[in-house]
Amino acid sequence: MSEQTLTSAAVARGPLAMEAISLSKDFRIGRGNTLHAVRDVSFNLYRGAVVALVGESGSGKSTAARLLAGQERLTSGTIRLDGKQVEVSSRGDFRRYKSEVQLVFQDPFSSLNPIHTVRYHLERPVKLHQGHDANVDQEVVSLMEQVRLTPARQFLVKYPHELSGGQRQRVSFARALAARPSVLLADEPVSMLDVSIRLEMLNLLDDLRRRFSLAMLYITHDIASARYFADEILVMYAGEIVERGPAEEVTQVPAHPYTQLLVASAPDPDNLGSALRGGSRRQGPATASGRPQNLDGSAATQGCPFNPRCPFADDLCRQEDPALTQISATRGAACWHLDVAAPELVSGPRRDGDTTTT
């Protein structure tokens, strides 16, 4: 596989923490139908680095996170934590695994139990993962300070409904940190929050990453936030990684037609009026509009999953699914027609060395 030779853009940050190797997950959806939610997905997480998994709803990004978190059983593939293959066969194993790998959910409104106080949400994981002899009270207060919910004692007695969305998400972060994990999987941690709060949250996550040298997987559909927050971006479509590379490169010169569509769809205040207000539809490189039968982008079952929405699709795309091909030392894309979709990346003399890495 070509992706084995691909170096992650996050590698320079720290030691390897977690490896996902050819992860696949199928869901049976009645009458012998199978949904391939995650297909042959491989990537590495490094301590102190952020890898972003970007894609639309239904692309399998949350399922990938759940696989890594041990919440779902793998259909095939291997997960390695600190070089050792993960075998979760007993409750004890699961708990030990959980003390290393924690998941933060999207919705702080439903991920906290409404009938318990903040203290309860934090005490339980502290006792569970650090043992009963731990100084629970002190630990809980220090967690609250880590996520800057201060004065801690004032917040500990509150119930989730007494907190704002941002404060609730801070409690979720604190709860995840209670296990003192090395890997933090954040599933759309800010998308339910106001734009003005998001930045603060991402800053907090970034700060926690740095302080605890966390290996972080940041799942989002907002590729702009991934540009600022992540070292490496993996773009997922219909369960596959269709493009990967350093965050700045992927967002500035997207190679895969789907990534190009994602980038073209992001709100662009610096491009006032040109697209929406003029009343004409933006003619991006790959616009899903104009295909009313496929407005919300169902993926193809044969060939490249993106072919029904792709402007470059031909018979080859409809028959065979392209593998991730290497573009540079740190970049890859799964497209048969990269020479047409991103000519500046494949045909030009430009090599990896002269691109802007963050």
Binding site: S164, L204, E248, S265, P267
Partner: protein
């Protein structure tokens, strides 16, 4: 559709000749105040706001959760229930189909019934919850059509189908239940329903917040296209200012129940004056262009049950000074702007006022621009 004379003779003629900002607006909200009555006292959710929506205009209402933007819109349509109470103001509607302007807030209930959906329709925030899960799309569309338009059954059926055409959903989906549709399709159905009676104004309350960017862009493009074709006005409510900059003609920025700045989208983008607007503009990461330093807005909105004196933004404002306590939050034209309609509630800060000194934010301890470096 014929004119609806019944919506006319209500609020008295004194309202009809009151001065309007420019050309006469379709919807003119004046001095509207809404409070939530609580045992601990009134929470002033919307405080003396003025906003006019012109014909065919797209006005954006931006603000954080709890800033009162939805309360303002629902209050203006009399959709609020106790403990919410409209305590002051008038909402003059003067659409093409009504003979005389009328105050929505003082209308009789039968007039209000004729006004809703036919003149003013609303696309609610969560399409997942706003559609009835046990009814097919067709039945929900027919429901809206029959409730507000008198037409024979087969004509109504045809109308339902053509509404789906409008929003780009295949007619075969008429027989689908909401759970069989994707989030984007459900939102389109909501828009189709709002269009059912060919309204003059559509209020959109965070219509795309739960959607992916690709679907969001598609739906927004569709909304703009429909607006150009059908000529309605839009009041677009969202917390995402970056969306509004691209979509709307004018933006009203709301904070703690009051407007802090109103201007055209271009002015907001290039010459934003109020510190809160500046903060919002500095909150979202941009995808294009060089990586700029993001500052964000630390802190959280004030308790509206016990608002601080003067400007409510002071505790979060980097430009704050002692005089801010005496600011009366009146919207005055921005001195340096060529556009007299560009108004701000901050008398001290102008578009080019430099940030006093790089205040180390106590919340994060370091500037946000370091993200990812």
């Amino acid at each position: 559709m014929s004119a609806d004379p019944a919506a006319g003779p209500v609020a008295g003629s004194s309202l009809a000749d009151a001065a309007a900002p420019s050309s006469s607006p379709v919807l003119d909200i004046r001095d509207l105040s809404v409070v939530y009555r609580t045992p601990a006292g009134d929470v002033r959710a919307v405080n003396q706001v003025n906003l006019a929506l012109g014909a065919g205009e797209v006005v954006g209402l931006a603000g954080e959760s709890g800033s009162g933007k939805s309360t303002l819109a629902y209050g203006a349509c009399r959709l609020l229930r106790a403990p919410a109470l409209v305590t002051n103001g008038s909402v003059i509607y003067s659409g093409r189909r009504v003979s005389r302007p009328a105050d929505i807030l003082t209308m009789r209930s039968d007039e209000l019934r004729r006004l809703r959906w036919r003149e003013i329709a609303i696309v609610f925030q969560s399409a997942m919850n706003a559609l009835n899960p046990v009814l097919k799309v067709r039945d929900q569309l027919l429901d809206a059509i029959h409730a507000h338009l008198k037409m024979p059954r087969d004509e109504a059926h045809e109308r339902a189908a053509s509404l789906l055409d409008l929003v780009g959903i295949p007619r075969s989906r008429l027989r689908s239940y909401p759970h069989e549709l994707s989030g984007g399709m459900r939102q389109r159905v909501m828009i189709a329903m709002a269009l059912a009676a060919d309204p003059e104004i559509i209020i959109m309350d965070e219509p795309t917040t739960a959607l992916d960017v690709v679907v969001q862009r598609d739906i927004l493009a569709q909304i703009v296209e429909l607006k150009d074709r059908l000529g309605f006005s839009i009041l677009f409510i969202t917390h995402d200012l970056s969306l509004l900059l691209e979509l709307t003609d004018r933006i009203a920025v709301m904070y703690a129940g009051q407007f802090v700045e109103i201007a055209t989208s271009d002015e907001i983008h290039r010459e934003s004056s109020h510190p809160y607007t500046k903060g919002l503009l500095n909150s979202f990461p941009s995808l294009r262009g060089p990586r700029r330093e993001l500052v964000g807005i630390p802190g959280s909105p004030p308790d509206l049950g016990n608002p601080p004196p003067g400007c409510p933004f002071v505790p979060r404002c980097v430009y704050a000074r002692p005089e801010c306590q005496d600011v009366d939050m009146r919207l005055l034209p921005v001195a340096t702007s060529r556009d007299p309609d560009h108004v701000t509630a901050c008398p001290f800060v102008l578009p080019d006022t430099p940030v006093p000194s790089p205040v180390p934010s106590s919340a994060s301890g370091r500037p946000a621009g370091e993200l990812g470096t």
